[in-house]
């Protein structure tokens, strides 16, 4: 007997509440700065950050664009590589056992340590950035896809088998679709990592992007500018995340959540 109020069911609430949440968080931030009289070089007020942003909005937005493209590019790249790897893992226990430690090893390398290597191998272009994003975010995609596909109900797998479906039919018509909600969970984890990955990549050999902005402002103690960069980054993350949420909503109407 669930009663649905305006807050839980209406469309405008679905937009309003997150925005409200964000503003409440900003309020807390501001309050904390004032109450604990935190020094601005440690944590500027949201006001300082906004002022800094409006000092050079064009420049900052342009850098946001640069990071955005790198993030999305690398993210797509990791979907394109992550899904087939997950398929292989589900397909064969042997492949899984051979591959997993390798993936884990790659995944656990501190990415900051490889950033210069990537630039040396791939130059200053967008490739090393995309590859960095890939390195940072393929793992959640692989593991959530694989575990989603492996948890397909035995009853449905047996159905497909009884129809003498090929392995690839079993994979694409059943397991993959069944795993989609879990894949989306993985993608949502990955997208935030992707954003961070692009920033890390921009720490080395970049001439643009929010990572570059943050790094150069950081070492000149321009904390407000650094936080402006971080804020833009967060906004980008949130936008990309909710983009995925929307996509999921439209692609998977059957995967209704129940609470």
């Amino acid at each position: 007997m669930t009663k649905r109020s305006w807050l839980t069911s209406s469309r405008s609430a679905a937009i309003l509440l997150p925005v409200l949440g964000l503003f409440a968080a900003l309020g807390l931030w501001w309050l904390a700065v004032i109450v604990f009289s935190i020094e601005p070089f440690l944590l500027p007020t949201p006001g300082d950050v906004v002022t800094t942003f409006f000092d050079q909005p064009g420049y900052l937005l342009q850098q946001t664009g640069v990071s955005f493209l790198e993030t999305v590019g690398g993210f797509l790249l990791s979907i394109v590589t992550g899904l087939p790897i997950a398929f292989l893992i589900v397909r064969s226990v042997i492949v899984e056992r051979l591959l997993y430690p390798l993936l884990l090893a790659v995944n656990s390398i501190p990415k900051i340590a490889v950033a210069p290597l990537l630039v040396v191998w791939m130059g200053f272009g967008s490739w090393p950035k995309a590859v960095m994003v890939l390195l940072v975010c393929f793992f959640p995609i692989v593991i959530s896809t694989a575990s989603g596909m492996k948890s397909t109900p035995a009853e449905l797998v047996e159905l497909l088998r009884s129809l003498d479906a090929t392995k690839s039919q079993e994979f694409f018509r059943l397991r993959f679709v069944h795993a989609l909600p879990q894949i989306f969970t993985g993608l949502k984890v990955a997208i935030s990592l992707a954003v961070i990955g692009s920033v890390i990549a921009e720490f080395v050999g970049a001439t643009g992007g929010l990572g570059y902005v943050i790094q150069s402002s950081g070492s000149s103690a321009d904390t407000a500018l650094a936080f402006a960069g971080i804020t833009l980054l967060s906004i980008m993350s949130i936008v990309l995340f909710y983009g995925l949420v929307l996509l999921e909503h439209y692609l998977l109407p059957w995967a209704r959540e129940n609470r």
Partner: protein, 319 residues
Amino acid sequence: NNDKAGQNGDESLQKITYLTSFNTFGREAYAYVALEKGYFKDAGFDVTIKPGSGTVDVLKLVAGGQADYGIGDFTAILITMGKQKMPVTTVGMIHQRSMAAIVALKGGSINTPQDLAGKKIGDQPGSTNTVMFPLYAKAAGIKGWETTKFVPSPPPALPQLLAAGTVDGIGQFVVGVPTVEKADPKHRQAVVLPYGDKLPDLYGNAIITRSDLAKDHPDQVKKFTSALLKGLQDTINDPEGAAKILQKYDPKRTVDGSVAELNLMKPYVKPDGFTGELGEADGERVERILKALENAGEIKPAGSLNPADVVDRDLAPKG
């Protein structure tokens, strides 16, 4: 070997990638000046300037062939090459004296070198400041310097740690002083203890290039360094003009900030009493530095690194 066509359609220009030592701070303005004023073009180069991310990264990128020239701290270059030979060589000096320093804030516990004993100093591990501290301390006659403790931290965090009082002093380049002062909410003045005062032999930043470039195309290298040094000369002659040019390339850099840095940098490019050529590299000085590093145990075993391995004295300007 580098005969790709130039970006601006001028077939005759040679494409060159140049790395600053760290980001696009005011202290790096001279490269932009040379670019803006067309010195590179006149010398036949189409130069792309990329912000570097520290000496070791710059060395790797140049050695790996992704960049042709780069700037790095000479002491750091020596230490790095002592651990790991790379196909790079030094072809000129930007700073005739090291800008490495310990920086503290006025009103704190550090006012003179003697105060350093037993203090906590924040610095990047392995940096010139940390590595050379024993030499500096001995030269300055600091008693009990062995009790000075270095707390590792990445460079961007240092001013904040100092301002917050988490550490008593930080390792910093002299040109970083405005940044340190700006980061302090009480706007205290900085106490600067430059290593150069006690260790006049130490160089600051140096120009490096790939060894094969230096060997196969010495003329090109000479042309490039002289174009760059011309930019450096202009920069110390007219810091304000240089700062304006830098801002054109990176709008984040305020003219005032850059001018302040450049004024601080001036005496290190051409110290009082320095009569030599801009950019000059003195072989004997290099040998003395190497000796000092060997004594400090930073280059093992002694004699494993020769001056010729790191500096191409034929290519560096001579006094």
